[in-house]
């Protein structure tokens, strides 16, 4: 595996790990992090989160990554992977501003 790809994967893996651990803790899920596929649906099918659960997840993301999620941006909760996309994009924006 080339270095650039390895770095990309490492960065994403770290974000995914944090999201999964946060989900398991906050929602008291009876799963290990490896049991949660990154594309698992969070709303409706899959984990089947209700609106209160969704709020808990949003609070967790905001706390863990220091990003803000607007009330009308529920679409990012489609899956763990879509949350990770949002977090990485927001972190990227912040890094651009700081540099």
């Amino acid at each position: 595996m080339d270095l650039e790809l390895e770095k990309t994967i490492e960065a994403r893996a770290a974000v995914l790990r944090t999201i999964k651990e946060d989900l398991i803790t906050r929602l008291n899920l009876a799963y290990e992090p490896d049991d949660l596929h990154e594309d698992i649906s969070l709303l409706g099918s899959g984990l089947g989160l209700d609106s209160l659960d969704a709020l808990e997840v949003i609070l967790g993301i905001e706390h863990s990554f220091g990003v803000k999620i607007a009330d009308d941006n529920i679409g990012i909760l489609r899956s763990i992977n879509t949350i990770a996309d949002y977090v990485m994009a927001e972190k990227g924006k912040n890094e651009e501003v700081q540099s």
Binding site: I9, L16, A84
Partner: protein
Amino acid sequence: MRVSPIRKLLADRGAVFGERAGVEIPLRFSGADKEYSAVRDAAGLCDFSFMTRCRVPEDGLDVLEQYACGSVANIRFGRVLHTMAVNDDGMLESDVYIANDDENLIMLCESLIDDEAATAVLEGMGASKEGLEDMSESTAVFGLDGLNAWAIARDLFGTDVLGLPYLSIENYELDDVEIKLIRGGKTSEFGYLFIVPVRQAAAIWERIEKAGEPHGLVPVGTEAHSMLRLDGRFFNIYEEGARVSDPLPLGLQWMIDFDGDDFRGKAAILERRTKGLENKIIGVTPSDPGGVLEIGDEIAHRGETVAKVVAATYSPTLKKRIGLALFELPYAYSGLTLEGVDGLLIETISMPPFMPRSLGVKLDEM
């Protein structure tokens, strides 16, 4: 081969039929692309009578607990569990809905095995003794899915139906016919399953069609449903399920109650879970929107194969091909660009790849 109780009606609508696990299925009517778009933009009605289905008295739930991987005993009244059944080796056999309907549990299965094999498995678990009743010949099952499906259900049953949560069951009467209505679906749009007595099945289908006319309802087949499931990232046992077979790389752990009672195949699944994953499926698409992506295509990094495509379709919503590939674990991440066939670049993507419009509809404000 088992055929639909409304086969003649479907044929009159132009259905082209196929076969799956010994059961005839309606593949398409006007064409899969058109039917796909009807569901995303309006509504589609599909005959799901190919599903095997049975009823078990509440006190006979032992048989379903042995059969299904999920926590059957914890299904609350009026709710539906989405789970699966596996064989002795812990490999996929059926995608299962189990509904707690008053004094009965109703099970609907999309299976890789035929009716006879499924019956043999259940009989081996004492199904007859527990009062299991096969409903596959006495009922029909219709799936109503789409952005406007809620409005059709409302016009048929009244506004109460809008309060049905996802994965729940309720009994309704329609033209004096008792219908079991499940709010479910695997398209990421609104979805309802109608379980209807076989004698009135054709009349109820036509009644739904009539109610759906002002809402753009069209008959749809299983090919459109396969497309809808893939770009909505709903598990499809007949595509990636049939090709991968092991539920763990498919990411179906959420369907399994690891800590509950034993079920068929549990030991094998637990053994593989303890050993750890070696592969995982991830969404893929060609970098070039006009690029090809077919089942069986290999995906490589620096010339070494790291994945193989196990499901693929054209997505009219994304206007390009999309698929799922079984990746070696170190490469199983979205956001990568890898090598496909003939020098084509393949991107791994997060799924579901778009926000379904139904998710933006607030039924409680209707």
